[in-house]
Structure formats: C-alpha cells, structure tokens
C-alpha cells in the first residue's frame, strides 16, 4: 500500500530512514544534507525508531562510526555532502574493502573551492572509484525508492558492499514534490532482517576486522572486491524487479525516454534528466527524433546494457555535472566513450559539462544541445568534443 505525499527530497529520505529503522545512524551536519539527520533525530527523540543515534565530531568520524557499527553486524547509515564526503575519503575505501553494507545518502553539492553550497556532482563523482555502489535519482520519488532498495542490494550475500544514494542538493533536497510513500510494514517486509555472516559481536565465532594485508593477500582481497562489484550489477536488477512488483515503479540500471527510434540522444544523471525530458518532448513536436538515457546505476557501470540501449542513435551527447580536469571531458563521458569503443560503435559522442556550482540549466539550453547534435548528424563533423553548457566565456 502506498500513499501520495508532498515533501522535500530531504524529508523523503529521512522518512525512508525512519521506515528502514537502521540500528545505528552516525550524524554530522553539512548543507544541503543537514535536514536529513535533523529530521531523523526527531524520529529518534519521538521513539518512532529504535536507532542508536551517534552525533560525531566530523564526517571522518561519521564514516568510522558507521564502519564500526556495520562490522558489529548493525544496519548502519550516515548521510553527507560535498566537503563532508571529502573528509570521509580514507574511510570510504575502508568501508568498501571491508565489505560493509553501509548505506549513505549523499546530497550532491559542489566540492570546494571556490566554496559553494549548490548542486553539482563533483563530490560523488570523485568517489566513483572508492568501491561503493552508486545510485542517482531524478527526483524525490527516486531518491526515496533508491534508499529503500540500497540495503537489500548492499547486504546481498554475493555483494556485501556499501551503497551511496545520490540526490541533487537544493534542486531536489529542498524542493517539495509529490511522491508515493510506502506503508512502514511494506518497507520492513521488503528489506527483511539482516543476518550478517560474520560480526565482531559473535563471540562464538571470533573474527578480526581490518588487519594489515600485505603482498601475500591484499591483491586477492581486491580481486574479490572486483568480483563483488560484478555481482552487484545482477543484484541491483533483481532488487529493482522485486521493488517494481511491490510498487509498480522503477527500473534497474537506467530509464530510456523516447530512445527507441531516436537519432540524437543525451545520456545524463540526476535532476536535469527531468528537464531534458521536457526538451525531448518539445523537439519531438518539431519532428526531431530526440531521446534520453537517464542513468540510475553509475557504479558498477552497466556498459553493455547502455551501449545496447544506445545502439540506434547516430549522435550522442553526454552531460556531466562534474569536471575531471583531464582535458578529455567529464567522468560519465569517459565511461560512455569507453563502452562505445568496446561495442565497436560508430555513434559520434560529444560531451557537455554543465551546472557546476548550481548553475541553472533551462529546457532551451538542452534543446540547443540536441540542435548541436542535429548539426553534427548533418555535417558529419565534430568541431569541439568537450563543451561547457551555460557558462560565460
């Protein structure tokens, strides 16, 4: 059973956390995430959850406390953004390599500097190689749905990995939208009980967590981690299917929007994909065969499925809300081009960096990208491989 409510993205995630009722939440405030742990702290104070709410002194400690709790067999969560995620860096890798299914909402915000509190993906994109599973959301509904699914993905016996649930700062976190919230008991039934195979508190079966691991076994353990990531892809799809049966919503790796017969397409993730849908609709009215692929799962990267879905396109633009400073384009672009190369694809692909530091991206700006793709389609020539959308130059 579900019920339509009008809440902010932060309220949506805080309510998902209430319904999950995690054993431990480590909390440290940072804009635009602060509301999540603030609202959740009220649920704790009101006795609506059984969670041990640990107020720590930094994000490094928040992730460390989550690691400790998760290693003890607890369902552990924390939430952060931008510089808070950066301060967790060391422990992010430890959480993943220790195979701890922590769930962390990240309310995407530009990483300093210059200091900025608004949305881009420079925080989570930097963490793309940390070993965390990464899910992205277009709106509050998807952020809520991803939070509910995250434990079920991360805790799966073939996975045992932490999951980062990304949601665009302010644009989604602080905007009220309609979404459907599940009944508390349906969430509990969906996520089930967590029975970890090994825990620090299992005195009958003592284990060591986090010992030194030198030339003799470090490599094998990293190899196992790579295998777990491979398994995660399958599990993400299974969990999405199960969630779809419960709610009628969702998709596994990405959403295809009017992509079937499209000639020009965009690949993007986050809230701007919603704006891009409006651009696609407008262009379709003009007779332009425009389409969109909205990524949900970014790590692991579903390369084969993406290239299959894009195979009918002639020209493609990848929109990146983060810069890599590689001088070869944004992070999603690099992954997509690599995937297209593996597939022997002849699709011409270009890249637009957009929306850094919260810069607004309007429907007509995305329409202009599609028009650029039309030009490439007609001329067969790419003048600039990587461009910057909506910047003053």
């Amino acid at each position: 059973m579900s019920n339509q409510v009008a809440l902010t993205g932060n309220e949506a995630i805080a309510n998902a956390m209430r319904q999950i009722n995690p054993d431990v939440v480590a909390a440290y405030p940072i804009t635009p995430q602060t509301e999540i742990v603030q609202i959740f702290s009220q649920f704790v104070a009101d006795g609506e959850v059984d969670t041990d709410f640990v107020t720590v002194e930094s994000e490094h400690s928040a992730m460390s406390a989550s690691v400790g709790a998760s290693a003890s067999g607890a369902r552990a969560m924390t939430a952060t953004a931008a510089n808070g995620l950066a301060l967790m860096w060391e422990i992010l890798y430890i959480a993943a390599s220790t195979r701890l299914p922590i769930v962390m909402p990240v309310v995407n915000r530009a990483l300093s500097g210059p200091i900025n509190i608004h949305c881009d993906h420079s925080d989570s994109m930097g963490a793309r190689d940390s070993g965390w599973i990464q899910l992205y959301a277009e709106n509050a509904q998807e952020a809520y749905d991803n939070t509910i699914q995250a434990f079920k993905i991360g805790e799966h016996e073939d996975v045992k990995l932490p999951v980062m649930v990304n949601m665009d700062g302010f644009i989604i976190s602080h905007a009220v939208e309609n979404f459907n919230i599940l009944a508390d008991e349906d969430v509990q039934e969906f996520i089930g009980e967590y029975n970890p195979e090994h825990t620090l508190l299992d005195a009958e079966n003592p284990i060591t967590v986090g010992p030194i691991d030198l030339q003799d076994y470090y490599f094998e353990h990293k190899r196992q981690q790579s295998e777990a990531v491979k398994h995660a892809k399958k599990v993400v799809a299974e969990v999405a299917e199960e969630y779809n049966e419960l709610t009628g919503r969702g998709f596994s790796y990405f959403e295809e929007y009017k992509l079937d017969d499209a000639e020009v397409g965009i690949v993007a993730l986050g809230s701007t994909t919603g704006t891009a849908k409006a651009a696609v609709d407008n262009l379709r009215d003009e007779g332009i065969k425009a389409g969109l692929l909205k990524l949900r799962l970014y790590r692991p990267f579903p390369a084969e499925e993406i290239t299959e879905a894009l195979s009918n396109l002639k020209v493609l633009a990848v929109l990146d809300r983060a810069e890599t400073f590689s001088d070869t384009g944004g992070p999603v672009f690099a992954d997509i081009r690599s995937a297209l190369y593996n597939a022997d694809s002849e699709i011409e692909a270009v890249n637009y960096i957009y929306g850094l530091g919260g810069r607004d991206t309007q429907v007509d700006e995305i329409e202009a990208v599609y028009k650029d793709l039309q030009d490439i389609l007609e001329s067969g020539e790419v003048e600039e491989r990587v461009q910057y959308l909506g910047v003053r130059e």
Binding site: Q4, F170, H174, A175, N178, T275, D360
Partner: protein, 190 residues
Amino acid sequence: MATLTEIRWHGRGGQGSKTASILLGKVASKTGKNIQAFPEYGPERMGAPVLAFNRISENELTVHCQVTEPSIVVVLDPTLLEVVDVTEGVPEDGTIIVNTNKSPGKIKEKLDFAGEVFTVDANEISTYELGAPFPNTPMLGALIKATGILEFEDFKVQIKKEFEKKFASKPEVIEGNMNCIDRAYQEVRN
C-alpha cells in the same frame, strides 16, 4: 486553468514566502495536482529580498530548472517594489498581486505592467487578526481569489489541515490565520 501554472513569490527573509509556497504546493497536491514548491536556493537572510516558486500542473512535472517566466507573481512586501523588478519575465497577460494599502491602479502605473494587478492590505489584515504583520497567509487567500487556480472551499478545507499540522503546538493561531485568508479573499481588488 492552464495545464501548467508557474508562480513567483517575492518577500523579505522572515516574512514567510517559502512557507506560503510550500503551503500552496501541499494544498494543491491534496486537491490532486502535480506540484513543486521551492525557495530561491541560498543562505537565510532576514530582511533581504528573497524568492520562492511554485509549479502547479495537471500533468506530471519533470522540469527541475528555475522558474523564469511566471504567469503569477505575489509580492509580500510593498517596499520591494522600490528595489526589485517584480515584473521580470512575467508575460503581458500575467497577474501580479501586491500586499499594499495602495490602489491597484497606482501599483499598475508604478510597475508599468500591462497585465492584471491586484492589491490587498495584508499587513492590516494580519495585524488585526494575528496581532502582528504576517502577510503570507492573507496573500494565499488573495492569490486564490485573483487567479482561481484552486477552488476556494477545497483550498480552505485543505489549508486548515495544514495549519493543524504546522501549528500543532499553538492551535490558538489557526482561527486567526483562517480569518486572514477569508478576509484577503474578500478584500483583494483589481
């Protein structure tokens, strides 16, 4: 009602423009509309000019860019007319509703705006009903009358429920706020 209505709220930090946009969004949601309500994204600034926005639609809302061409503008503070161009991006057939004791004609002339201008003295109404100037709730009543975006009786039923949640710890202000909405609905003029 048009398929999509976009609204911009002008206020000063602390006057409740964000709250007004959220209340309107929640009420419109309860009456079956697709909605968005969001403030201008930025630090809280007491007394400084601030913005809030609504999108209300019969269809699914997917756009997540800013509202740049609102057909409806609500101004919570008359002094903003001196410092902000409240007509920016508003089409010629748009509607601007201002909290002021001046006549609509005077404001229309001052703004040099071709569309409809409504005025209501929301400060006087809320000072009488609530003991202090809280212009946001009366301006909701004025907005409903001026634009007809929601059916007034439905609006009242739903906003009362929102007030009962919002003011759970001080229920004595609910009646005053409902009176503010009623009076502004009656008194707004163009």
